[in-house]
Every structure is written in C-alpha cells, then in structure tokens.
C-alpha cells in the first residue's frame, strides 16, 4: 500500500488557477475517484489556498496518472485554456512519508499562507468528514487524519505558533490602519456570512469599528451573525447603499462572478466624495474584480496579496515554527512506523490462517476420537487456541516490529518461506503435513 498526494497551493499556483479547481462539495468527485480500481481510499481538501487529494493505492504509478487526470477532468472541467504544462507546473506530489508529513504540516498550519492560522484545521476536518460520509476514506486514511488532528493540537498547545496577531483577517486590519488614521470612527461591511467571514468578523470587531454591517444572500444567516457580533443584517440588494457608507469592505461569499466590480464600486466612490474604500477579498473565487484597482481610492487585497504582506511580518512566528516542525517529524515517524507495520499484515494473516487451519483440523480429529461432552470439548478448543496464540505471540510481535524498518522485510520473506505461505499447493501439502504426526517422528525434535 502506498500513499500518494497531489495538490497545488498558494505557492505553486496563482489564485486564478486555484479558483478554477476549487470544489464546494468534495463528495461527488471523491466517490468517482474511489470507484477507480487503482484508488482504495481518498480525501479531497479544497480551501481558498489549496486543492489537494491524498490517495491510498496499491499501484502508485497508475494512481498518479489517475489523480492527474482527476485534477484536469473532474476539477478543472477540461478547461481548454488550462494547458497540461500549466497544471503540471502547479501540482506538487508527495509519496508515503512525505505525504504523511505534508498532511500533518497542513493540519498544524505550518504550510499555511499565514503560518499558525486557525482556520485550516476546521477546513481539514470538514474535508475528512466529507470523505468519510461518502465512503472515500477508509481505515488507513482515518488513522492518518486522526494522527494529523492530534499533531495539530500538540503544535498549538506545545508551541506559541498560534499566538500573535497574524491571521489573514488580522493582517487585513493592520493594513487598514495604513489607510485609515483611526479605526474607531470607521464603518465596515462584511459581504457573505460563511465560516471564513465569521472568523474575519472577530478580528474586525476587535479593531473597534464604529459600525459593522453584514450583507448576505441568506438574510437569516446574516441576521444570526449580526446578533452574535452586534452588527446589522442586510440583503445583497442593499449593497450599493452599504458600499457608499463603508470604509472597510470584507468579502467572502460564494459565486462565480465578482460581486464588486467597477460598475458597482465607482458610484459608491462618487457618493463618498473621494474617501477611500479598503476591500479585503478572502473569497475563492474572488469576489472583487481586480479591475477595480484602477480606481484611485480603492485599495483591494485578495487572499494572495494579504498572504504576501503576512509573510513579511511572520518572523516571530517562524521562530516557533522550528519547534512545531520537530513535533510534526516525531508524529510522522510514529505514523510511518504504524503504516510500515501494515506490510506485515498479509504475512501475519496468512500465518495465523495457516496455523488456525491446522489447529482446527487436528483438534477436530482428536475430538472425534474422544467422546467428550460439549463442556469438555469447549475446554479442549480453548486450550488449543490458547496454545497457538501463545506460541505465535512472540514471533508475530517481532514480525510487526521488524516490518517498521525497511531491512525488516527480510524477516517477512523468511517467515513466508519457512511456513511455506506462498506455496500454491499448500492445501495438499498441508494435509500431508497435518497427517505427519501419525507418521515417523521428526528426528530433529527427538535429538537432545
């Protein structure tokens, strides 16, 4: 079994490409993916900064081709303008240990645009939940993700990486202070009421704004958020008026078409008589058309631009990053050991099966000669099972341990050889062997 991870993130792919591949509901494409022979388990993570698929496979080369085709056909929708080369350049690929490490680093927000940001863990949990619900995740990926969540928790509690002001929303507030002298008299507008919007809302509220308005397609959801954050709720039809009144506009709303365009922002600017608007666009796909940059008094920062600013200011957090990386390495090693030990599973299963067949046959033969009542028969059954388990315990534990090391494969091969686990004609040979106790005694056993 091999782990294979293919994906793109804010470092390898521009926002335009990530937008194209973003998936709102990972269930249907995942189901399609795991229905392929070469993919046993899979999880798809799609956030504003990354689109990744991790798969468990028995044929990594075929799975690699399958995943590339999945990105191109299923996620990008065979877009003509997206060349194979552009996709290849944007995609990164990790296998086995590297893939495990990557999943843990992403969960611990070490691979995030803003290192240590809290949103990513929730997004990964959602992606994992979606994979479980559609049956795409199995025991191996379940274990990997549980380990990744535990790693993220350890990183947060054992390091100071999550401290400090640098979430994307807080960077946005810091930027707003470069535009506005004082935030206390300013009015903010939040377009959208999703999870990302809610996280950003906290940072905006802490900045001490004069008022906060929330505009959303679903007025009900906007009203819920408004109550929680002391804001006012509005429908999107009120956007022109709200824009004219707002100094800071934060957008995080779904939709294929930008909601803030030149034709919507320009009238608002005229009404504001030259007072600037700071647009923070954390939506993917983007909610603000980049063309509004040409308007003098509009300062638009999308998720990439915010990340670029944040990375310039994350030195303090980077110091803690080294400690966090050490935790990830430790957890990766632990999981890698468990994963490698899975190599011993077929041998252990075969060996146990073989011994169980012999035990059952011999017990049955012996019991047929002894006229025992059911209680005693049960006692004999228990005795033989117990004997087998006790005899096998030490060698099987050793096999498991050795399988965690690459060199330990020799032990597995030796076990298969000694017990003839790969013999195709075992049933016949086994039957003879089972009969052996009735034949001449093994000379080796009788020697002192």
């Amino acid at each position: 079994m091999k782990l294979l991870l293919l994906g793109m993130n804010h470092r390898t792919a521009p926002l335009e490409l990530r937008e194209r591949l973003a998936v709102a509901d990972p269930g249907p494409p995942l189901q399609k993916l795991v229905s392929c022979d070469e993919i046993d388990e899979a999880v798809l993570l799609s956030t504003c900064n990354r689109v990744e698929v991790i798969a468990l496979t028995r044929s990594p080369d075929a799975a690699r081709l399958r995943l590339r085709s999945f990105f191109r056909r299923e996620l990008a929708g065979d877009a003509a303008e997206l060349t194979t080369r552009a996709l290849d350049e944007a995609l990164y690929e990790y296998r086995d240990g590297e893939a495990m490490r990557h999943v843990m680093r992403v969960a611990a927000a070490l691979d995030s645009m803003v290192v240590g940001e809290p949103q990513i863990l929730g997004q990964i949990k959602d992606a994992y939940r979606a994979a479980v619900e559609c049956g795409a995740s199995g025991p191996i990926l379940d274990r990997l993700y549980q380990r990744a969540f535990a790693t993220a928790k350890r990183v947060r509690t054992d390091t100071r990486i999550a401290e400090g002001p640098l979430s994307v929303a807080r960077v946005a507030v810091a930027l707003a202070r470069q535009i506005f002298e004082d935030m206390t008299g300013k009015h903010a507008l939040l377009i959208g009421a999703g999870e990302m919007a809610e996280l950003a809302l906290g940072a905006l509220r802490d900045a001490g704004l004069a008022s906060l308005a929330i505009a959303n397609r679903s007025a009900e959801r906007a009203a819920q958020l408004a109550v929680a954050y002391g804001a006012t709720a509005h429908g999107l039809d009120e956007l022109p008026r709200l824009l004219a009144e707002s100094d800071v506009v934060l957008t995080s709303i779904g939709g294929d078409r930008p909601i803030l365009r030149v034709d919507t922002v320009e009238p608002a600017l005229r009404a504001r008589r030259g007072r600037p608007i700071f647009v923070i666009d954390i939506g993917v796909p983007r909610n603000a058309d980049p063309a509004i940059d040409r308007l003098d008094d509009v300062y638009r920062y999308d998720i990439d631009a915010l990340g670029a600013v944040a990375s310039d200011n994350a030195e303090e957090r980077r110091r803690e990053q080294a400690r966090a990386e050490a935790i990830v390495a430790e957890e990766q090693q632990r999981f890698e050991g468990w994963f490698a030990a899975l190599r011993a599973v077929p041998t252990i299963r075969d060996l146990r099966g073989r011994v169980e067949v012999i035990r059952a046959r011999e017990t049955s033969r012996a019991l047929s000669r002894l006229a025992l009542d059911p209680e005693r028969r049960e006692a004999v059954e228990l005795l033989t099972r117990s004997l087998v388990n006790k005899i096998l315990h030490a060698p099987l534990a050793r096999l498991r341990r050795e399988a965690e090391r690459e060199e330990g494969m020799a032990y597995l091969e030796l076990a298969r050889l000694l017990f003839g686990l790969d013999d195709a004609d075992w049933d016949a040979a086994g039957a003879e062997a089972v009969d052996a106790p009735d034949g001449p005694p093994d000379p080796g056993l009788d020697e002192p």
């Binding site: 506005f180 002298e181 030259g274 600037p276 008094d297 200011n313």
Partner: protein
Amino acid sequence: MVVAIHQLTAAIYLVACLASGIGLALGNARAARFAVGVLAAGALLHTLALSLLHTAKPPPPLTDLASAASFMSWAGTIAYLALLRRAKVSGLAVLVAPMAFLGVFLAALHLPQAAPATTPGSGSVPHAHVLLASAGFALLGLAGLSGALFLAEHRRLKRHRALPGSGLPSLESLDRAGAVALATGFPLLTLGVITGAMWVHAAHGGALTGSPHEVGALVAWAVYGLLVLQRFAAHQGARRCAVSALAGFALLSAVVVGMGVL
C-alpha cells in the same frame, strides 16, 4: 551668536533626520518618536535664533535669502509640530527633518548677509512680505511633502507592498495633514502676495510692474487658488490632491528659486 545657534540647530535637525531615517528603515516607532522630540528641541533653539535676529540692533530687514530660508524652515517645522496635534503624522518627520536641516544649514552658511536695499517709505511691508510669503511657502511645502509621502504610500499599498507596523503615517493622516497645510498656507501666501504688491506699489507707484518675480508669484498663487477650490469645493480624490500639492509646490519652488537666481 545667531550664526552659532543656527549651526547648532542644523546639527540637531541632522540628528532628527538620522533618527527618523533609522525609524523608517527599521520600522521602529520609538526611533520615529525620538526624531520628533529632537525636531521639537531643534525648533526651540531655532526660535531663539530667530528671536535674536529680530531683536538685533539695528534690526535686519530679513529680506535676504539666508534669513528667508531660516524662517521658512522654522515655520515649516513649527507647522509640522502643530499638525501632529491634528493628524498622526510623526512618520512625516522623515521628510520634514531634512528640509528643516537644509534651510538652517543654508542660513548658517550665509548669515549674516548684507540685506538688499529696501525702498524708502515702505516701512515694515518688506519684512511682513518676507515673513508671510516664507511662512506660506513653508506650509505649502509641508502640503507638498505630505503629498509626496502619500503618493509613495499609495503606490505601495496599490502594489500590495504595504508594511504594517512600519510607523509610516496612514494615507488618511497624510491627506489630512496636506489639507490643513494647504488651508493655512494658501492664506499666508495670499497675504504674502498682497504685501508684495504693496511693496511694489511703494517702490514703483503701481501694484504691477510685469517683472518675472511678480508674474511667477501670481501664476503660483492662481494655481494654488485652483488647488484649494478643487480640494475643498470639488472634493477631489486624495491621490489627485496629493499630486496637485506636490506639483503646486514644485511650481512654487521653481518660482522662488527662479526669483532668487534672477
């Protein structure tokens, strides 16, 4: 004595230049605040120098370039320090301090100068003209510097190269500083132009002689009048106001320097 104090003031302004430069380069707000404190100390000493100059016996007419430069840098520095009460522009010291230093350094090099002959019968009008026009020039210079820093910051923000925590003033602060400087500088310039016309009238019997000095000053005044209208009546956008303030100050400087050369 006046020259020595000017030299000392120039040295203090130079320290303010360095401190504000270091504050900007390192994003150190404490260095920026220290620069403002040093600038204020320099301004106090500068005030003393100018007071001594005004109380000299016989009092000099202050119409020479060195005195005017000293007065302009003093007025600019004082105006900047006063602006700090209205807008958070301590980062602007990075431009104000060098200008103050240059003005005082120039004055220290050339003081005391033989004053140009004043027109008999003009009284204190030449003195008032120099003081008002110099103060106007200083304040409009401050508006121009605010505009320059605004444009640099605007460009950086538009290109997503912002530096949160750098201690640089916000765009809003710079815009407000520019507006206040323009709103106070333009009336002073207007009074400077009026006293200039009175001086010319006393000397030549008419308010206009058509000299390059007069034409240049009137053109600059008219341009500034337009800028004031655009900013306060037409509510021009902040970036355009910054461009206008910078361009206006460039024109005014060209006129002043041109007049000096001519």
